[in-house]
Amino acid sequence: MNSADNLNTLMARYQAGDCAAVTALVECVGPQLHRFFMAQTASRSDADDLLQETWLRIHRVRHTYRPSEPVLPWFYAIARRVRIDHHRRASRTTALERPLEEVSDAAATLPSEEAHWEELETLLAPLSESQREILRMMKVAGMSLEEVARATSCSVGSVKQKVHRAYRNLRERMTAMGPKRGSSRGLS
């Protein structure tokens, strides 16, 4: 039984009310979703909050999962929406709360971990938000084109096009930065 089949089985048992399946599912999918959020927020406290909010929403709509459908896009579509909602809420209050947030983030995130995720964000900075999102799903979450298309409500063709453009942008940028970039990323 592969990982996807295992997750499908756990989801079916979760829907049937099996507590052990819930614990196994949270332990299996939770770290993946946490990485997904860390790659976007670079803040451990934000990622923790988003993870909890995502599981609350997953629990509320667990009846919408069908055992015949792939499970990862179902999880990531919800996680993506939670992240969007969080971003919108935050943008409404950022002006007032930013100084406090910065203090708490600095305290909550380990320096090396933060630096690592910020490195990824810096690398993806020149891309559009949708291109960044798709690359994060593919490279951080390890999802296939089909799974990303389902999670983002796009067609596979559209995802392919975004990946192609993102790679072209990154290639041009890395080529322009040359040896300096290469040495900072350990490529030289």
Binding site: V61, H63, T64
Partner: protein, 233 residues
């Protein structure tokens, strides 16, 4: 620099070790387990779509039965087939999309906006083919009466559809509202085609067709308002 080089850099930077606090995971699992009840997965999409189509047909037929089938009685056979088969196809497509909005991560070959555009264009095309009376008697007064009737009828159809697909829409409430509103709007248009005896081309093209985007816009607004309310809580 090749795509493989870019890939290597991305792989390297995205493999950051991110340890989740085990206490956080066990807290989440405990919180879920404390309120865990068995749930029945959703039935297949075609069953839910069929139920939505039955709701639309029942609401439109009931309303037309109360007000009179004057419109459909005046139509010729091929005109009836053309108009009502187009409406049936559109109700099925829109209902299917509405159901997909309920399910996170479902395959969406067309967006709700695309279906709305296609639906409005299809109705305009069919109406332009069928109705050839280009007079404009009482254009505004008769038109507003039809538009309001269509929108008012869309309301119970939307409520019943929403009731059928309650407890969900975790991903995009605005798109779900747009889909539900468009479906209810098609119910309103169906009722108008059954009832309205005014066959002036511009009346049908403008006011009957306007029920669809009008109802969809109202649905999107309701979805947005519900979303704002839930995110403020």
């Amino acid at each position: 620099m090749t795509d493989e080089d870019v890939d290597k850099v991305l792989q390297k930077t995205s493999r950051a070790a991110s340890q989740v606090d085990p206490a956080l995971l066990s807290g989440i699992a405990d919180s879920i387990n404390s309120s865990l009840r068995p749930v029945r997965p959703l039935p297949p999409t075609w069953i839910l779509t069929g139920e939505l189509a039955v709701i639309c047909a029942a609401v439109a037929m009931t309303a037309a039965a109360r007000t009179g089938f004057y419109g459909v009685e005046k139509l010729g056979l091929w005109e009836r087939v053309l108009i009502f088969s187009t409406l049936a196809i559109l109700v099925w497509m829109t209902g299917k999309e509405f159901v997909r909005q309920l399910i996170p991560g479902s395959r969406q070959p067309l967006s709700v906006g695309s279906i709305l555009t296609i639906g409005s264009a299809a109705l305009l095309g069919v109406f332009a083919m069928v109705f050839r009376d280009y007079r404009t008697d009482h254009f505004i007064s008769a038109g507003i009466a039809c538009l309001l009737t269509g929108l008012l009828l869309a309301f119970p159809a939307a409520c019943m559809s929403g009731l059928l697909l309650r407890r969900g829409f975790a991903v995009n409430p605005v798109a779900a509202g747009l889909g539900g509103g468009a479906l209810a709007g098609l119910c309103g248009v169906t009722m108008l085609e059954l009832h309205c005896p005014n066959f002036q081309a511009l009346h049908v093209l403008v006011w009957h067709t306007a029920v669809l985007p009008g109802s969809a816009a109202a649905g999107a607004l309701v979805g947005w308002a519900l979303y704002r309310r839930s995110s403020a809580e």
